[in-house]
């Protein structure tokens, strides 16, 4: 399959219909390929991660080698960045962040959190637990432009099979 190596695929997660429309337009305007879903569980479903049974921690090392090819596939054909709202019913953006970072397959995908509320403890917790950026809503085009470096870095990191 021919893949445009310069185009990145962003998975956006937000329970608000208006905000989904906005983030989609913002991302497309910035030349990202976009998939938008309305919940954390749909995001995990889209990634192919069954969120009920990702307790692979025991088997992590055994799986790592066999997964390394799949990791590269995920980077090139799948999702390159996840941008999620914080406040969502059911699974919050923070919960989703944790799920992603606990996953052996997906932990290298950069995750960005958006929130309408400027709460320093919330922001710090997300950043400490692996979020690349925390954006205050309403998200602007200038915010979206800040995402590209994270994507470039993740792409170049994924070429190293044994960097972790």
């Amino acid at each position: 399959m021919a893949v445009d190596k310069t185009q990145f695929h962003v998975l956006a997660v937000d329970d608000s219909l208006i905000d989904r429309k906005l983030i989609e337009r913002l991302l497309k305007t910035s030349s990202f390929q976009v998939t938008v879903v309305d919940s954390g569980s749909k995001a995990l479903e889209f990634l192919g991660l069954n969120y009920e049974d990702d307790d692979h921690n025991d088997n992590e090392h055994e799986q790592r080698d066999s997964n390394s090819d799949e990791d590269e596939d995920h980077q090139d054909l799948g999702v390159n960045l996840i941008i999620t709202d914080y406040c969502m019913p059911g699974m919050t953006g923070y919960d989703l962040l944790k799920r992603i970072k606990e996953s052996s397959c997906f932990r290298d995908i950069p995750v960005v959190i958006m929130s309408s509320e400027n709460i320093p403890s919330r922001i710090n917790r997300c950043l400490e637990d692996g979020a690349e950026e925390f954006l205050l809503k309403p998200v602007q085009l200038s915010d979206v432009n800040k995402l590209r470096p994270h994507l470039m870095k993740a792409r170049s990191n994924s070429k190293d099979f044994d960097s972790h």
Binding site: K21, L22, R25, S116
Partner: protein, 150 residues
């Protein structure tokens, strides 16, 4: 002749938008929305406004229902106001957003009377922004029609 009509309409549009900014009905976020509209997405602003209005009216109906209960469920109320505050902020409906902040505060204080007052403000601000945006969209359509006839 059309040139003059188009120019006049554009002036009207500019004045309407300016007055909405001056009165705080809209803030800079609305400019951001307009910047996202282009020839490949010529109806973007109109679509967002339509989504917003549908959503806002749904929420206002729910808020009204919850406020009329004997025992007001303040946490449900708060959840709905949070949604409306978010979408108001996203389209740049500044005064409406502020009205939401006030209702959240009253709800936090579990003060039913204050909530009722704050809710009335929300309803009022919503109808103000909706009617002005409707006029704005009509002007836009009119301008586009005339320009297409050129």
């Amino acid at each position: 002749m059309n040139h003059m009509a188009i120019a006049a309409l554009k002036t009207q549009r500019r004045n309407l938008v300016q007055s909405m900014f001056d009165e705080g009905v809209l803030d800079n976020q609305f400019n951001q929305l307009q910047d996202l509209q282009d020839s490949s997405n010529p109806n973007f602003v109109e679509e967002v406004i339509a989504l917003f209005c549908n959503d806002a009216e749904r929420i206002i109906t729910e808020l009204n229902r919850y406020l009329n209960d004997q025992n007001v469920d303040f946490s449900k109320l708060d959840s709905y106001v949070h949604q409306l505050k978010g979408s108001s902020s996203s389209i740049g409906a500044y005064r409406l957003k502020l009205a939401c902040v006030n209702l959240r505060q009253a709800s936090e204080e579990r003060n039913k009377e204050e909530c009722a007052g704050a809710f009335n403000s929300i309803r009022r601000e919503y109808y103000v922004v909706r009617s002005k945006l409707q006029v704005l969209m009509q002007l836009e359509r009119h301008i586009v029609n005339l320009e297409n006839q050129q």
